[in-house]
């Protein structure tokens, strides 16, 4: 019951939830396809993150505005059509702004439609909350997604081509670890990050167990 009362309050947590505690990629394992497919360089990762964030915020706003008008039987179809509209906008904008980037990301721009993060947000947050709160939450999720993409993209670019955002970092003697920019690298780097977070989590749990008195987390 208390949940309904708190509904309208926008706290810092509304925003930060998506960045850390419920990070869409590392914690909820959503939106895996673009995460792995376009993160072969930091620039691509950033572009994808920004595009997804835009669609996320815009569709959250629209879904939230119409949340009382959409009949629950056809809600998923309605959300998808709303999302597809914004993705079409992004697709054409990207084509107009930067051709090389558009070609690098290819069909994955259009595939933002089927990114589970966006539909998940529409269903879990925007359909129940006021526009502003949904947008703040969506912005947090978008930021979390972008950060996750960047952390994958920069590691892969660094190892696979020895550069970051296209700038070579190592000397000419650097032997690129080519497999990292190829598909297997995506799986392995994400696996590595997940191992790291899991390790952090177990270590924290051990500490909590160790300090028996101060168990509140």
């Amino acid at each position: 019951m208390s949940l309904i009362k708190q509904d309208d309050r926008i706290t810092l947590d509304t925003f930060l939830e998506g960045v850390w505690r419920e990070n869409p990629v590392f914690v909820m394992m959503l939106g895996m396809c673009p995460t792995l497919a376009v993160t072969n360089s930091a620039m691509n990762a950033l572009a994808m993150g920004v595009a997804t964030t835009f669609v996320l915020i815009a569709s959250s706003l629209l879904v939230s505005l119409f949340r009382n008008l959409i009949p629950s039987e056809v809600r998923i179809a309605t959300y998808i059509v709303i999302i597809a509209t914004f993705v079409t906008i992004v697709d054409y904008t990207m084509q107009a702004v930067s051709q090389p980037l558009y070609h690098a990301l290819g069909a994955f721009i259009q595939l933002i439609v089927v990114n589970c993060i966006i539909l998940g947000r529409a269903e879990a947050c925007a359909s129940r909350n006021k526009p502003l709160k949904s947008m703040v939450n969506a912005a947090g999720m978008g930021l979390g997604f972008t950060l996750a993409l960047l952390s994958l993209g920069s590691v892969r670019e660094l190892l696979g081509s020895g550069s970051l955002f296209g700038l070579p970092l190592f000397g000419e003697h650097f032997q690129p670890w080519v497999v990292m920019v190829l598909p297997p690298g995506g799986f392995l780097v994400l696996g590595g990050w997940l191992l790291f977070f899991e390790w952090l989590k177990t270590r924290k749990q051990d500490q909590v167990l160790g300090a028996e008195g101060a168990t509140h987390g």
């Binding site: 396809c33 497919a37 597809a84 598909p183 297997p184 799986f187 997940l194 899991e198």
Partner: protein, 195 residues
């Protein structure tokens, strides 16, 4: 083979060399989610492949229609609506024919709609301007490749349940690293044909 437009080439290209899951990262959610057991992996693969086939055929004719009217900007929206209806069809059929299986697949069945492999397939065949037979071969190859990847993964994960692993590696991280190794193995097929 040799001729990049031939139907066998397209089939094997989508099946092995450019496997949708392991080389193009499409359809990863079910790949990581439903690949725990062999007896759910196979029906999931079959259901997805069926939807792929149906939506590929629909997308082909739909695209002809869109081009004829000069309204290509509606492509994305109309594709996704067609796919959603196809999934609904499969869901109803499966519910009638095998309620147990329907329950085993759970949330992943309606989620086929948001499976990027299916929309990806429809979009790629449009970009590559395949004709009807080529689209069909592409859809069959992609579907077979999806089933293959799902089965390989499920087999590996069933075996690993019996293995002793460090506690940190259990769960998603393990699946991803397995996926990475499978993907490495599939790179061996790259010589069969490039994009």
């Amino acid at each position: 083979m040799g001729n990049a437009d031939s139907i066998t080439f397209i089939f094997f290209n989508a099946f092995l060399a450019n496997n949708f899951v392991l080389a193009m990262f499409l359809g990863l959610c079910p790949f990581l989610g439903v690949s725990g057991k062999l007896n759910t992996a196979l029906p999931m693969g079959l259901a997805t492949s069926f939807v792929m086939l149906v939506s590929s055929v629909c997308a082909y004719f739909l695209n002809e229609l869109l081009v004829a009217f000069g309204i290509e900007y509606l492509r994305l929206i109309s594709y996704i609506v067609v796919i959603a209806s196809a999934v609904q069809l499969v869901e109803m059929t499966l519910k009638k024919l095998s309620p147990t299986l329907f329950r085993a697949l759970g949330i992943y069945l309606p989620l086929i709609t948001t499976n990027c492999a299916i929309l990806g397939l429809a979009l790629f065949q449009t970009f590559k301007e395949y004709n009807f037979m080529q689209s069909l071969a592409y859809a069959l190859g992609a579907g077979a490749g999806f089933i293959l990847a799902l089965l390989l993964m499920a087999g590996l994960r069933e075996r690993l349940e019996l293995a002793k692993l460090p506690s940190v590696t259990q769960g998603a991280a393990l699946s991803l690293i397995l996926g990475g190794l499978l993907s490495l193995a599939f790179m061996g097929f790259a010589g069969l044909g490039a994009e």
